[in-house]
Amino acid sequence: MEATRQRPGGQVPVRVRDIPIVFLSYDEPWAERNWQDLVSMIPTALRVNGVEGLDACHKAAAEAAGTEWFITVDADTTVMPEFVELELPEWLFEPTLRPTWYSRNAVNGLVSGNGSLKLWPAEIVARMRSHEEAPDGTISIDHDIEAIEEGRTRRVQMPGCYSITDPARTAYHAFRAGLRECVYLAHILEAFLKEGRQGDERTAMLHRVISTWCTLGRHHPNGAWMMLGARMGARSVLEQTGWDIRKVNSYDWLEHFWNRNIHARFGAPGTTGLELKGRWNPRLLDAELRGQGVWLRDHSDLDIAELGPSESRLIVESDVMPAVRSANAVDSIARGFQTGVGVPQDGAVARTLFEEAAAMFHPSAFCNLGELWESDSAGSPDLERAEWFYAAATTLGNAFAPYRLARLIRAQGDLSTEEAARVRDLEKMGAERRGMPQHDPAAGGRT
């Protein structure tokens, strides 16, 4: 498929308010209030309500918008007014990209994809087969953007935070949010661990995020329920009992699970179904929470702690926990624009994004910037700058930079004895790091 770039309405610049915004609600008791708040800010906002299944619900949103791009807002999420006026860069409007603005969780303060604002290309939504529509034999508990067309369709985390998501306005919804999110996160963690990625940055990030869901919340009226859901969700995956985690895609199943296993145990007599109205046995709930915490500490590397309400509040309100982010993801999108895979080739966009990843000292971003400056894709070639970026990438430990630097020096011809020795050292280093051309998949080499 050839990617085309066509901005909504051809307007320049495009702001969020130029794009249809669709509010997605299902059974949230507070949805009407959030919807009214959104409409008062964006009178043209649309609503999709009560559609079962997250795949179906997003397809309904695409249909309601009827445009090439639309933005979704979950029922739990409150949008900040600044978002509406946000100017969007032209490169976002690619049918293979699904940009996301992370949301701050009102209970644990985490800034992550949970409850985030999303810009959807209708084309991606039409091709998506996620959640209840996932092909037989596959596990889908997220939108699986990357799986739609491997190496081409991508999620894009955008800088900044323009919304707050509060899924804990009833005990049931708090429990459901914690359970679903930690089943999802633990499922990814488990896959990483199976791949032997114990030491990598994303694994460490997942540990931190799951630990936060499982630890912070006792200061919030329904926070303990969210933590219990989180702990049970993480355990249900890590315990490896063969339980089918896809069940969390079904709100009917979740309601049944709540009624049978949670409400029946913890709810006060006289309360019914999903409505606990603040009446439960707090001691029993706390004992269960601690028991789940002990299991997780004993059977995983998750850092779970038992914090009191004032401790939990202090940490959340101090705003000292970073967002869930990946320099590698930024570098990967930039690489797409550099090579023209999934998006049109665009050296200027690639350079901008590589520079962002380099600001986070991501080694391969330095190597890729070297490549941009060596070629003419960032403007006119600048070999001095290319050499600096390759050298920096080499010291930062990138595998492919030593060979590229050696090649660049060699190409200058008439090497002095010192330069020739440097080239030999670099090639040796490249071989040791498995970063020679034959190791480089981007160069068509064997891995």
Partner: protein, 277 residues
């Protein structure tokens, strides 16, 4: 010169105002012919990856002194100690180390805030004073101060740090000059003093300090960031803008990266840019 490890480095034994230390620095400078040198603050454990960091050519071309803060061992937030990359000639001309003209948004390692009870109290006090001054009218600095004054119980001398921070943001409290009197406090009295002072700070409308248990303090330290806070990123970007067209590009990249890591836009300047002590 590509990375910090390429420059000659000198560890400063004590405070920068110390005449004996300055003499040692001058001896070090005499012994090197390189244009740029790296000065490492006392009690900073430099992470090995720091030596691989490439200083930004544009900033070096302008001759600006670049400070890489270390994270505070008790809080994970940036400290005012770290590693300084500066020009040899600049030090010789000033007869002292220059102030940090650019605070880089990357940690160089960890600064031990509590190597002894006295040092923990002293560094806490100085930090509390500095942050308290920043916190006037600045919500973000107020939040950080609350956090920093609440952290430490997981560490052997952490309560001394907490007492120091709290004393530094209250009038009429003990100062480092009173150490001989403070040193007699036993563990129970120290903890009581921390709790009492925290309560007083809260009641007087100061930061909402809530001294954390050892378990909570350790957890918060582990959950903290490997990156300096957003104000350091924003401060760095603001300085880059002053460096012309290429500086503006650099600023945009760092601003976006900072907002990816912190995903917030709190307008706050100050942290990490204070004078090094």
């Amino acid at each position: 010169m590509t990375c910090l490890g390429d420059f000659p480095a000198c560890r400063i034994a004590g405070g920068r105002e110390d005449a004996e230390n300055l003499q040692e620095i001058l001896v070090f400078l005499d012994a090197t012919e390189e244009d740029w040198v790296v000065m490492i603050d006392e009690a900073v454990d430099v992470a090995p990856r720091t030596w691989a960091l490439p200083p930004e050519p544009l900033i070096c071309a302008r001759g600006l002194a670049q400070f890489y803060p270390a994270s505070n061992s008790l809080t994970s937030l940036e400290s005012s100690n770290g590693v300084l990359l500066c020009q040899r000639e600049q030090v010789l001309a000033l007869g002292n180390l220059p102030g940090p003209e650019m605070v880089m948004p990357v940690f160089c390692g960890i600064w031990d805030a509590a190597p002894s009870p006295e040092r923990a109290f002293d560094s806490g006090f100085r930090h509390g004073q500095m942050r308290h001054a920043e916190a006037a009218g600045c919500e973000t600095a107020m939040r950080y101060l609350a956090f920093e004054a609440s952290m430490g119980a997981h560490h052997q001398f952490g309560a001394w740090w907490m007492l120091g921070v709290l004393s530094g943001c209250c009038d009429g409290q003990a100062t480092p000059a009173d150490w001989e009197t403070l040193a007699d406090l036993d563990a129970a009295s120290l903890n009581r003093a921390v709790r009492d002072l925290a309560r007083r700070v809260r009641m007087e409308g100061g930061p909402p300090v809530a001294p954390l248990s050892p378990e909570a303090s350790q957890w918060a330290l582990n959950a903290g960031s490997n990156w300096p806070s957003l104000p350091v990123w924003e401060g760095f970007a603001d300085r880059c803008v002053e460096l012309g067209e290429e500086g503006a590009r650099l600023a945009a990249a760092y601003r976006a990266a900072g907002r990816r890591i912190w995903a917030a836009r709190a307008p706050y300047a100050g942290a990490g840019s204070e004078a090094r002590g």
